[in-house]
């Protein structure tokens, strides 16, 4: 009980940092949250299915990826304190191309789509949070697209290293390289070169 409240504080802060909810709105929202636990390697969301949840990570880390010609291509990573979902599928109610896997043991609050949508319709504040969340997701995707268009693999790696050094510690070469849009061997070589500054 105390445990659960401590976790709820984190998600409440994450929401309030976008836009504050009135107390009754928050209570209603929190009442619909479902706790979910995933072991390393489990799927939060599978490709070919419709996304039914918006997740908030209490602990752990996840990877959003898709498959193409048997290859596994990483779109994004998420960590404790962040929202995750197969956003495209959540919005469109079409089958997801995106898989979300737990990179380590992960605990999340899940908000079912049905309630999320009702919540958007019922409360203007909720709708605003939905807008801000979508806008924030948009910005992430645009930045990454701009990087892919304008930078070499080496520059993309250097930038990632600068902006998110923790990521480079914890994520496998295989996953990092597919996030950067290159092969593991190439990342390995880039790393070797970048060591001697």
């Amino acid at each position: 009980m105390k445990q659960e409240n401590a976790d709820l504080v984190k998600i409440k802060q994450a929401i309030d940092s976008l836009h504050p909810l009135a107390e009754n709105e928050w209570q209603e929202f929190a009442g619909k949250l479902v706790i979910k636990k995933f072991n390393k390697g489990d799927f939060l969301t599978r490709g070919g299915q419709i996304e039914n949840y918006l997740y908030f990570l209490n602990s752990g880390a996840t990877r959003n990826y898709f498959l193409r010609d048997g290859k596994d291509l990483t779109v994004d990573f998420h960590f404790e304190g962040e929202f995750v979902t197969a956003y495209y599928s959540l919005i469109t109610r079409l089958d997801s191309d995106i898989f979300i896997e737990a990179l380590e043991d992960t605990e999340a609050y899940a908000m079912p789509y049905k309630f999320l949508n009702e919540f958007y319709l019922k409360y203007h504040n909720a709708e605003r949070i939905g807008r801000l969340m979508a806008e924030y997701q948009y910005i992430k995707r645009l930045r990454k697209e701009m990087n892919l268009l304008s930078k070499t693999a080496e520059e993309r790696y250097a930038e990632l290293m600068r902006r998110n050094p923790a990521l480079i510690q914890n994520i496998s070469v295989k996953h990092l390289s597919s996030y950067l849009g290159i092969q593991p061997e190439s990342l390995s070589r880039i790393r070797k070169l970048s060591l001697r500054n």
Copy 2:
């Protein structure tokens, strides 16, 4: 006057297709729209400035691009009946990296940021339209990122050709190639090969 109403029908339809507005909401929105005309080559938005408008194109076409090492890289094209803006800057109120230029003579309705934001705050329906617009923008960016990660230049060209053949007619090789993330010479070669199927 009749002319103006004819144009307003288009933007009203575009909005209603996201989510309908009440009559009074629409009247208030329409009252804030400013007509702007651009000659071919004019800028709707310049890099280094804060985006102050959400545009709706009554006619014409635009290109969103950014500069890097003197190179000019295309993020997106927009045509009659679509909304355009330097979305990142509009949202964050930070300087835009994105330039928007008119590819031909273009007429647009412009909604000033100040009013747009007030409109979001004042009406739940408006906020919802803002959310849906952001979600739609997100989807476009995700799709393009997935293409850049997973497909060769040739595949990206073939897909674009399939989905948007008009674009290939009207847009210069220089702009199309930078949208695809390749050099004009490469696109020229891809085109030659794809002629003999």
